[in-house]
Amino acid sequence: MSGPYETVIGLEVHAQLRTRTKMFCGCSTAFGAAPNTQTCPVCQGNPGSLPVINKRAIEFGIRTALALGCTVNLQNRFARKHYFYPDMPKNYQISQYEEPLAEHGTLEVAAGGAPRVIGIQRLHLEEDVGKLVHEGEFATARASHVDYNRAGVPLMEIVSKPDLRSPEEAGAYLRALRAIVVYLGVCDGNMEEGSLRCDANVSLRIAGSDVLGTKVEIKNLNSFRHVQHALEYEVKRQAQALDVGERLTQETRLWDPERGRTVATRSKEFAHDYRYFPEPDLPPLDLAATEVERLRGDLPELPAAKRVRFVQVYGLSPHEAELLGQGRGLADYFEAAARESGKPKAVANWVLNELLRELPGDDDAAVAACPITPSRLAGLLALIDDGTISGKIAKDVFEKMLRSGEDARAIVGREGLTQVADVDALAGVVDQVLAQHVKVVEDWRNGKKAALGFLVGQVMKATQGKANPAMVNQLLGEKLPKTSKLT
C-alpha cells in the first residue's frame, strides 16, 4: 500500500464533572486534599457498600449531551466493566455500556478551512479511579501506595465518530469540546490536572477508500499540544510503515512527550475482556422527558452561537469573535465592558491586545479575578474618549490598574497623567520647539513632510507625553510657515 493516505481519527474524551460530591457517594471531589481523606466505604469499595447515583452528575451529562445535539436515552443504565488494577477499589468500574446516557450528536469544527461536522457516537457517565503513588520509579519502586480521593469522581466519556481527518482537526475538535463543557460549567477543562483527558484512535487508508485501516489507540495525551504532536507522529509512522508494505498491528501506544514519539505498550496489559454486565446494585435510569426538556431550555448560549452573534451585533471579525468567545468568562467580560462603554470595537481591541497578554482567555477564574473589571476598562476607555489621556498614556494606566487594582481616574489624577490641553501653555512649548529646531522648520518649508512628525514628537517629549496630540497638530499647523511645495 502506498499513499496518498487519508487520516482517520476518532477521539475518546473523559471529562471530570464539577459536581460537589462523587458519582456514587457523598465524598468531596475537591482536588489536592491529603491522600485518602476524601473517601468512605463506598468509594473505597468496602465489602457490603453500595453505590447511589449522583443526580447532579446525570444532569451535567444531559446538559452536555443536549449541547452536542445528542439524543438523550430516557432509558439508560449503568454496567460493570471489569479489570484488575489496584487504583480501582472494586476491580470493576461502574460505567455505561449497551445503554449509554446519550448518542448520535455532532460538533462543528473548523481547522483552518471550512467548518466540518464531526459525529459524536455516544456520551456516557462512569466513575474515575484512584491514583497510584510510587516510591521511586515505577519499574523499581520500593513500594507503591494508592490514593482513593479521586476514586469515584464522576467522569463523562464522549466518543467521537472516526470523522476527524487530520491532527489539526483533532486539536480543533478537542478545543471546541473543551469550550462547550467549560461554557456549561460541567468541567473545568484543565488537561494538565487531568480534569480533561483524551485518548485517540488513528488509522490511515488509501484516499477515497471507505474501508478503515488498522487502528492504533494512543494514550497519555494530557495537553492539546501532546494530542496534536502525538497524532502527527503517529500518522507519519503509519504512513512510513505502509509505504514499505508493513502490516500495522492493532495496539495501544503511549505518547512519550520527552522523546516525541509513541511507544507500543505490552499489549497484554490492555488486552481485556471487560465482562460487562448490567450493574445489579443500581436500578435502570428512567428519565422524565419533561426534565430533559427543562434542561434543554436552561442551556446557555454556546460558543458557536456566541461567535455568530458577536460578528453580527458588534461588527467584530470572525477571528476576533472566536478569540473573545474562547471562554464564557471572557465573552461575558467583553460584553459587559462593551455595554458600559458603548464602543465594542475599542473594547475588543483592548481585550485582545492588552488583557489577553496578561491572562489566559479560557480561564474563567483568572478573568473573574482580574483587577481590571469590565466597568474599569470602560472607565479607562472613557478617559481616552474625552481627551483626558492619550492612547499611549492609557496603556501605562492599564498596567498600573492591573497592579494596583485602582480605577483609571484615580491613577491619572494622582500621577498627573492628564493631557496638557491648555492652549496657551502648549503654544509656549510649540514656540520653544520651533525656535530650537530651525533646520527642521526649514526642511518643512521645503516640503519634507516627515519633519512635522519630528516636531510633534519633540512637543510630546517636552510635555512628558501629556500633550493632547490633536491640539499639538493643530498648533503646529497654525505656527509653521506654509510649505513651498505641495507633495
Binding site: P41, N46, G48, V52, R80, F84, K90, N91, R275, P280
Partner: protein, 485 residues
C-alpha cells in the same frame, strides 16, 4: 429459663418487670458458653457489647420508656453483615481479619430498636453453600443431631435459634440460604421480597438475589422483626419505598377463605417421602382452617437451578473481585509485583467452592459466551418470575416443601451438584424476588425437622406470615426443642 422464650414472651417479661434485658443477656451468654462448643454456631461472641447494650436497655425499661418490641432482645448476626468495630469474616480466610468501619443499615436499625448483640454467626464462605461445610473456619452442627449439618449458608444463624443461643438471628438468602437452614433446624426463617430490606452493609454474593431476613422461634416474632428492619434506605437504591405494614397486626386474619396454591412441580421423584407426607399433611391442616387449596403449575421450576448457577456466580465473580489484598483483609507477603500479590492472595484466601463459582461466573460473562449463558439465564429468570405471576392471579399464597430432604450428615454430600439440589425449591422464589418463609411442619421418624415453605406475592410478606402463623397456631412443632444439654 429466659433463653427458651420467644421475643414476644421475653418482651412481656421485660415490661412486667419479672426479667431484665441484662438477665436475658447473661442467660444467653451462659448458654453460648456451655453449648456452643458443641453446636459451633458462633464465629465471634461479643459479651462486652451485649452486657453494655443490655444495661442501657435495663435503664430504659426502668424509666418506663422502652424503644419497642425488640428492646433488650438478645440477637446475633450472620457474619456477612458488617458491624462497625467487630470482625466480619464472611466465613472466609480472605476476610479473617476484616473489621468493618461501618454498620450495615439492618445492624443500625436493630441497634436503634434496642437489641442486644450476642455475636456473629458462622456461615458458608461468602454465603456459598448449603451446609456451613464451606466455612473456612469450622462446620456448624445441627442441634437436632450434632452429626448433621444445620443447612446453609446461614447455618450458624439457624442453629443458634434452634439451640436457644439467641432470641432471634439474622441471615441472608440468595437461593435459599435462610429458608433451607430454617427447615433443617426446625425454626422460622423468612426471606423478604427482594428490595424489602436494605442490603447496605451486607457483603454481596449475588447482588440481584441477596436479601436479609430473620430466624425466629415463632412466626409472630418474624413479623415483629421484619417491621424493624424493612423499608427504603438512601444508601441502597434497590431498597424500595414500599410502605411497611404492621406485620404483627396482619397475622390476625387467619386463612379462612384464602386461596392457597400447591405447585405440582414441587413434589418430585427422589424427594424424601417423609417430607412429602408432612407437607401434604400441612396442606390438609390449612384446608381444615378454611383455606381453599388448589394445585398450581410453575412449569419453569426445573430450569431455575441452572439459571441460578449462572446468575449467582456471574454476579459473585464481579462482587468478589475487590478482594485482592490491596485495601483490607488478607495479603500474602513476598510477591514481586502487584499482580503476583493479588493472585497469590486470592489463591490462598478463597476456598474451593468460592473459586469454583468465580470461575463459573467469569466464564458465563466472557465475550462470546455472555449471551449463551448469562443472557440465557436472565431469560429463564423472566420465565420463572412469570410462572409465579400467573399462579398469583388465582391464589393468594403458595405452599410447598422448603427442601426435598432433611438435614444430611456432615461430609455426606461431596459432589457440588448434589449439594446444589438442596435449593431446588427455594431458588425459583429467589429468582422471582418473592418473599418466602420456612416454618416447622413435622419431624422425620429419626427426629429431624421438616420445613414448610410459604411463598407470597412481591411485598406481600403480610399474607405469607399470616398463612404461616395460622398453621403454626394449629400445630405444636415449633414448641419442640432439641435435647442438647
Amino acid at each position: 429459663m429466659l433463653a427458651a422464650l420467644s421475643i414476644e414472651a421475653l418482651g412481656a417479661r421485660f415490661r412486667d418487670g419479672s426479667a431484665t434485658p441484662s438477665a436475658a443477656a447473661r442467660d444467653y451468654l451462659a448458654r453460648i458458653e456451655a453449648l456452643d462448643p458443641k453446636v459451633r454456631a458462633f464465629m465471634t461472641v461479643t459479651p462486652d457489647v451485649a452486657l453494655a447494650q443490655a444495661a442501657e436497655a435495663d435503664a430504659r425499661f426502668k424509666a418506663g420508656a422502652p424503644r419497642g418490641s425488640l428492646d433488650g432482645v438478645p440477637i446475633a448476626l450472620k457474619d456477612v453483615l458488617c458491624t462497625r468495630g467487630i470482625r466480619t469474616a464472611c466465613g472466609s480466610k480472605i476476610l479473617e481479619s476484616f473489621v468493618p468501619p461501618y454498620d450495615a443499615t439492618v445492624v443500625r436499625r436493630l441497634q436503634e430498636a434496642g437489641t442486644v448483640l450476642l455475636g456473629k454467626l458462622n456461615m458458608d464462605e461468602f454465603a456459598m453453600g448449603s451446609s456451613t461445610e464451606n466455612s473456612a473456619f469450622f462446620t456448624t452442627r445441627n442441634p437436632w443431631d450434632l452429626g448433621r449439618v444445620p443447612g446453609g449458608s446461614s447455618g450458624g444463624s439457624a442453629a443458634a435459634v434452634a439451640a436457644d443461643l439467641a432470641a432471634a438471628t439474622f441471615g441472608t438468602d440468595t437461593g435459599g440460604s435462610i429458608r433451607q437452614p430454617a427447615a433443617f433446624c426446625g425454626n422460622v426463617g423468612l426471606k423478604p421480597t427482594y428490595g424489602r430490606v436494605s442490603r447496605y452493609g451486607l457483603v454481596a454474593f449475588a447482588s440481584s438475589l441477596d436479601q436479609i431476613g430473620p430466624f425466629t422461634k415463632t412466626v409472630a416474632d418474624a413479623a415483629l422483626v421484619l417491621r424493624v428492619i424493612a423499608g427504603a434506605d438512601p444508601m441502597d437504591s434497590t431498597a424500595a419505598a414500599v410502605p411497611v405494614p404492621d406485620y404483627r397486626a396482619a397475622l390476625a386474619g387467619g386463612v379462612a377463605g384464602l386461596h392457597i396454591g400447591i405447585p405440582r412441580e414441587y413434589f418430585i421423584d427422589g424427594m424424601d417421602p417423609e417430607v412429602e407426607r408432612a407437607v401434604r399433611a400441612a396442606v390438609d391442616v390449612l384446608r381444615g382452617l378454611g383455606a381453599k387449596t388448589e394445585e398450581v403449575s410453575l412449569p419453569h421450576t426445573e430450569y431455575g437451578l441452572a439459571a441460578y448457577y449462572l446468575i449467582g456466580p456471574a454476579e459473585a465473580s464481579s462482587n468478589l473481585a475487590r478482594y485482592d489484598g490491596v485495601k483490607y483483609g488478607l495479603r500474602l507477603p513476598g510477591a514481586r509485583d502487584v499482580i503476583e500479590m493479588e493472585s497469590r492472595t486470592r489463591a490462598a484466601g478463597f476456598g474451593r467452592e468460592v473459586k469454583r463459582r468465580i470461575m463459573l461466573g467469569t466464564y458465563a460473562l466472557s465475550a462470546g459466551y455472555y449471551d449463551e449463558y448469562y443472557g440465557q439465564a436472565l431469560r429463564v429468570r423472566t420465565l420463572v418470575a412469570r410462572d409465579f405471576q400467573t399462579a398469583f392471579q388465582t391464589v393468594d399464597a403458595i405452599v410447598a416443601p422448603t427442601t426435598p430432604g432433611v438435614a444430611f450428615k456432615i461430609g455426606e454430600k461431596e459432589d457440588p451438584l448434589q449439594m446444589y439440589l438442596n435449593d431446588v425449591f427455594t431458588i425459583p422464589t429467589s429468582l422471582a424476588g418473592l418473599p418466602g418463609v420456612s416454618l416447622p411442619a413435622g419431624f422425620t421418624l429419626a427426629g429431624l425437622p421438616i420445613g414448610l415453605q410459604v411463598i407470597g406475592k412481591a411485598y406481600d410478606e403480610a399474607t405469607v406470615l399470616r398463612v404461616a402463623h395460622a398453621y403454626e397456631r394449629a400445630t405444636d412443632w415449633h414448641t419442640r426443642k432439641p435435647a442438647l444439654s
